[in-house]
């Protein structure tokens, strides 16, 4: 990525624009604050979900993902995402199609039916990597107006941001650091907790197949974060957000207990620290509510 590439094609996916638009609004505002523009990808579809469509038919999953990539190629822009599922699908599809010429040929036969072609001219980036590596921690720090010094954040990476490492390229999936770095910029602390690296429980069609066991899995994760003294959970994935936030209302129905443990996408937490209101970030319109500690 070059210093000059200051405009990205924003691949919205499904959950960001259709369930948690505060993530979309907050991410756009923060990137803009640092001179980075985002353009929507006209006609983009579901990524489609890597653990879901990849599990049902990878020969359908791939051309649908490739079609999305061609939209950014036509815009002559690199892609930015706000969901690990979108990151998982688009980056993996881009990687496979660049690596395997035969697969690209077969995929382009399908895309050719409606005049599209995968050329391999874009790249797929996660928004938190743009924050960490392109904007950089020093510039982020300069914009912190409301330090989060007394806040303990349980960082949750989700799965497809870090893994598989051979595709993602963010180093160890056992000792990740990007979210910790971003949280420390605000003054917040990031205590270790037992199930920090554990999946939210939603992926792979698991949430759809058996929601109660998927919720139990999430419950264990939240309990371990609460027991470690954390005030909230911060993550980089719209799909995890759906599970961790909306899932707490479903957990109340299934298990009769409402944790109200605050869930924030990384740019929502940074947005609060940079002085944006919870309304601008959509945090007043979700299942879990924000404590005064985060809003002061």
């Amino acid at each position: 990525m070059t210093e000059e590439s200051k405009t990205y094609a924003y691949f919205l996916g499904c959950i960001t624009p259709n369930r948690y638009p505060g993530i979309e609004a907050g991410t756009k505002k923060i990137l803009k604050e640092f001179g980075i523009e985002t353009k929507e990808m006209m006609g983009a579809s579901c990524c489609p979900a890597p653990g879901v469509f990849g599990s049902f038919d990878m020969h359908t999953w791939l051309p649908v993902a490739a079609r999305n990539l061609t939209i950014a190629e036509e815009m002559d822009l690199e892609i930015v995402v706000t969901c690990n599922g979108c990151y998982g699908s688009l980056q993996e599809a881009d990687h496979l199609l660049k690596e395997h010429p035969k697969l690209r040929e077969k995929t382009n036969e399908i895309l050719g039916k409606f005049g599209r072609e995968f050329k391999g001219t874009t790249e797929v980036h996660h928004s938190i990597v743009v924050l960490h590596d392109v904007i950089g921690l020093d510039r982020l720090k300069e914009q912190i107006k409301k330090p989060m010094n007394d806040v303990n954040v349980a960082v949750h990476y989700g799965c497809h941001f870090l893994k598989p490492r051979e595709v993602r390229g963010h180093g160890s999936s056992e000792t990740p650091y990007i979210l910790e770095d971003l949280m420390k910029v605000t003054g917040a602390k990031t205590p270790e907790y037992k199930d920090k690296l554990m999946c939210c429980g939603a992926g792979g069609g698991n949430r759809t197949a058996d929601s109660v066991q998927s919720l139990e899995w999430m419950r264990q994760k939240l309990v371990s974060a609460i027991e470690a003294g954390c005030d909230c959970m911060v993550h980089p994935c719209a799909f995890c957000h759906l599970q961790l936030d909306r899932g707490q209302a479903e957990m109340e129905q299934a298990f009769g207990v409402f944790f109200n443990f605050p869930i924030l996408f990384a740019t929502q937490f940074l947005g609060l620290a940079m002085g944006l209101s919870q309304k601008e970030l959509g945090l007043d319109n979700q299942t879990t509510t924000m404590p005064d500690k985060l809003l002061k």
Binding site: C14, R19, A44, P50, S55, M58, T60, L242, G282
Partner: protein
């Protein structure tokens, strides 16, 4: 149709390369996958067992095992496997083969219906449009759900690969065919 192992290598190999899938043969049954598995903590999923079943060709047993669908594709075992078995991609491939032979639950098939109707697994409705307006965004994002001709491209892909037939999709009703008959089938 060959052995299950051969089918895994052939089907997954077209996407990931055959060598990637052939790592299944490297499994030494050490159990690190099962020990790392966040699902196995709570469900009957035993990844080590699934792989042994695949290697000894217990095709029907594996396709009928509910736990085949309890992997969240978290890749923990994929990263930790000391023999480099491409675990998650092998599980996804086994699921693909199971789905092709009709082992797919109604809720899972319904996800395909949403995508065929809107281009999205999670479409937007009137309430969510208000959420968008509340944060200063256009009420509907410029995606396939808004542009019919763009949605038709996604539908063309599904028709070409036969995904519509795989889930018994009825193009007239834009829904699943005969749900009452398939309801109990996994």
């Amino acid at each position: 149709m060959g052995t299950l192992y051969e089918d895994i290598v052939a089907h997954g190999g077209e996407v990931f390369g055959e060598e990637h899938m052939e790592t299944l043969r490297e499994c030494v049954q050490c159990g690190k996958c099962t020990g790392s598995c966040p699902s196995g903590r709570n469900t009957a999923l035993r990844t080590r067992k699934l792989f042994q079943m695949a290697l000894v060709d217990l095709r029907e047993e594996i396709f009928n095992a509910p736990e085949l669908w309890f992997c969240s594709t978290c890749y923990t075992c994929y990263e930790r496997c000391p023999k480099g078995v491409k675990t998650t991609d092998i599980i996804r491939t086994i699921r693909n083969l199971a789905a092709k032979e009709g082992h797919m639950s109604v809720p899972h098939r319904m996800i395909g219906v949403y995508v065929l109707k809107t281009g999205h697994a999670v479409p937007i409705g009137a309430d969510q449009m208000k959420l968008r307006e509340a944060v200063g965004l256009e009420s509907q994002p410029p995606t396939t759900q808004k542009y019919k001709e763009q949605l038709e491209q996604v539908q063309t892909i599904f028709r070409t690969t036969g995904y519509d037939a795989m889930i018994d999709f009825d193009w007239d009703a834009m829904n699943l065919k005969g749900m009452e008959k398939k309801g109990g089938k996994k």
